[in-house]
């Protein structure tokens, strides 16, 4: 026993030494050094697909900024950690980035679940926290003062244009019933329930309202209920794979809705193949269009395509937008380091409007953007903007062709 205790004491001392020796390299706010920006992203795990998209957006931003001379005359450098889509890790990551690595700025992670815990770390260290993906309303109810969402609208407002369109139809054509199936995730549920609230208020009856956990793989039970109810409208609060699974399960049961809307999934490049190319008429909200006429968007699409060999999607655009917002604040405040500078950055973002690839963005007191999403639809084998009318690329198709 005593021997083991001695060994224990030795181990303890060794580990303590290892600990204290581990950190300690300071990088101050020297003007010759690059501006280091800390990011934690889910590069593996549940959110790895969109996480990688955001990463490309960030990388494209850093390259474009550096190619044109950097920020405040300094190059920018991204330090990206992988949080495995795990909330414990995301907190430890930002703790490490801010507390140990002494990064000058931070960008947000992906997904609402990870945004809230990491925003708290940033808040308690007093860092500006612009994030590309925390779209659910919960994010803005936490009382964060340093948080800004770099996209046009929060999840609950994604379908606003669609709801208006449906409710404006003549009474004899308007759908009567709707079925909702949403993943138990704040973002996915937010989109579906935002539409649900508006349709219910407009007199469209909810016949099925299902919530499934993120790890659901068998959708036959949910599909059976939806098909049995024969709802006119189907709304899926989905991420990606769950939307595909639900559609395939519904196809297996031969259910044909007049209108089907899914969040995120239909904009994925793999989507058409995954549902056997039976995509015609499927709807999806989006905050970004490659063809949008905003001044910075042309440059973004061009250089992104040159860098990655394909055009940017919504996730990439959101990452890029985050960079644009922070860059605007840094340029205006004339500083980029921890400490008092962060307060200046926050105050600037709160008071100003930023021109981005998704249009001009401004925020209310909680960091919520004041805009709405466009609605896209699969028409003739391609996904096109159909709503709102002033930016449409194709006519809205209703009722939806069979899948």
């Amino acid at each position: 026993m005593s021997k083991s205790l001695k060994a224990l004491a030795a181990a303890m001392i060794l580990t303590l030494g290892a600990c204290s020796g581990g950190g300690g390299d300071d990088t101050g706010g020297n003007t010759d050094e690059p501006i280091v920006i800390g990011v934690s992203l889910p590069l593996t795990g549940d959110f790895s697909e969109p996480g990688k998209g955001v990463q490309q957006g960030y990388e494209a931003w850093a390259k474009i900024v550096n190619d044109s001379g950097g920020l405040l005359g300094r190059q920018v450098e991204l330090k990206i950690l992988d949080d495995q889509s795990n909330a414990d890790r995301v907190v430890a990551d930002y703790e490490q980035l801010i507390g140990k690595d002494q990064v000058d700025l931070v960008f947000g992670p992906f997904s609402t679940r990870l945004v809230v815990p990491s925003a708290r770390v940033a808040e308690e260290y007093g860092m500006l926290f612009v994030e590309p993906a925390g779209a659910a309303k919960e994010v803005f109810e936490q009382g964060f003062k340093n948080l800004f969402y770099a996209a046009p609208a929060v999840a609950n407002d994604h379908y606003n244009h669609l709801a208006e369109y449906i409710l404006a139809m003549p009474a004899d054509q308007r759908p009567k019933t709707a079925a909702y199936a949403a993943m138990d995730d704040p973002f996915a549920q937010g989109t579906a329930y935002g539409l649900k609230a508006k349709l219910e208020a407009g007199g469209i009856k909810t016949v099925v309202n299902e919530v499934y956990p993120p790890n659901t793989t068998d959708f036959s039970g949910i599909a059976a209920k939806v098909a049995d109810a024969k709802a006119d409208v189907l709304v899926g609060g989905s991420q990606y794979q769950d939307g595909v699974n639900l559609i395939v399960a519904l196809q297996q049961l031969g259910y044909q809705p007049k209108l089907a809307a899914f969040s995120t999934a239909p904009t994925n490049p793999e989507f058409a193949k995954a549902v056997g190319n039976k995509t015609e008429g499927i709807l999806s909200p989006t905050g970004y269009s490659q063809d949008a006429q905003y001044p910075s968007n042309k440059e973004f699409v061009e250089k992104f395509t040159a860098q990655f060999g394909k055009a940017p999607e919504e996730d990439q655009a959101n990452g890029y937008t985050t960079g644009q917002v922070v860059a605007a604040a840094v340029t205006a405040a004339g500083c980029a380091e921890q400490g008092d500078c962060q307060k200046k950055l926050v105050d600037w973002v709160r008071a100003n409007t930023v021109e981005t690839v998704v249009g001009p963005l401004s925020w209310d007191g909680t960091g919520k953007p004041k805009g709405a999403h466009m609605i896209q639809q699969w028409v003739g084998g391609d996904i096109k903007i159909v709503l709102p009318a002033d930016v449409k690329e194709a006519e809205f198709v209703f009722p939806k062709p069979a899948w």
Binding site: D46, S220, G276
Partner: protein, 295 residues
């Protein structure tokens, strides 16, 4: 009150699901019978087989059903090795506990390697007949689900014939019933136990193929299978293959029907409720083997 059509549809789905559960639980029961080992890694191997099927389909365009030709023998060999090389190293006195930890470690290993090789992204085999279905008295049955169920029935039938009609099956059952006595009768119980493990793991290969036809797979999925499967073998009585099969059908059906009023998440709790109820009321299980009493 749900409509008759929905009820009938759910009953059909319940039968199809129960069949798959029965196949998978049979493997777990075999391990327990042979060595008193609770094989946590069973469902990890299941997911591994599903991944192999998916990978061959992505890379070579092979139908997952053909992949079974490779995975079944491979898994049989892995099972034999697992038993002969690893499990026999454990101290007999603490075998049950330590084997749980060891197989648990193997499950983590498989999950980690799958995550490393294929990332955590959900995967799905895209088959030409993926959304095809047959009509059965107004309800619809997906072709892929029918194939999965067919696989389960064939595999279970083969296992039954093997156990009841062949010399090896007799030896295996003798080993399960009384290892020492079997040895006295001249049965090479070590070898039989190894082959028994191989067969158990082969069922995981078949089950994994069945799974890959119709659902999404991701590395940590195995935890969502091992829970229900363990509940099934306890409810059925540890070590009893028919008991596990009956419990699998009953619980699979219950899950499918409970989904109508309760939703998918709460319906899954039926397995755990059944598990706790069984342990509190009848720890030896409802169809159970005499073995269960002491474990």
């Amino acid at each position: 009150m749900p409509s008759g059509a929905l009820l009938f549809q759910s009953v059909l789905l319940g039968i199809l699901l129960g069949g798959l559960y029965a196949l998978l639980a049979s493997g777990l029961t075999l391990y327990f019978g042979i060595m008193r080992v609770v094989m946590i890694a069973h469902s990890a191997f299941l997911i591994l087989a599903a991944y192999l099927g998916w990978w061959l389909h992505e890379r070579a365009g092979l139908d997952p059903l053909l992949a079974m030709l490779g995975t079944v023998p491979l898994f049989f060999g892995a099972g034999v090795l697992l038993q002969r090389v690893l499990l026999t190293r454990l101290r007999p006195a603490t075998l049950t506990m330590m084997s749980v930890l060891l197989t648990f470690a193997i499950a983590l290993l498989i999950e980690g390697l799958l995550g490393y090789a294929f990332t955590g992204t959900q995967r799905r085999v895209q088959l030409g007949y993926g959304s095809a279905s047959l009509e059965v008295f107004g309800a619809r049955v997906a072709v892929v689900k029918l194939i999965a169920f067919g696989l389960a029935v064939v595999a279970l039938g083969t296992l039954y014939v093997l156990m009841k009609r062949t010399r090896f099956g007799w030896a295996l059952r003798a080993t399960i019933q009384h290892r020492d006595a079997a040895r006295l009768l001249g049965i090479d119980t070590d070898r039989v136990a190894g082959y028994g493990f191989g067969i158990g793991l082969a069922t995981a290969a078949i089950g994994g193929t069945a799974l890959s036809l119709d659902t999404t797979i991701y590395p940590s999925l195995h935890w969502h299978w091992i829970g229900p499967l363990m509940a099934i073998i306890v409810v059925g009585g540890l070590g009893s293959v028919p008991g596990a099969a009956i419990a699998a059908m009953v619980l699979g059906m219950a899950q499918s029907l409970l989904q109508i009023p309760m939703g998918t998440t709460w319906a899954q709790t039926v397995f755990y409720v059944a598990l706790f109820a069984t342990l509190a009321i009848r720890p030896q299980g409802f169809f159970g083997g005499r073995l269960a009493q002491r474990f």
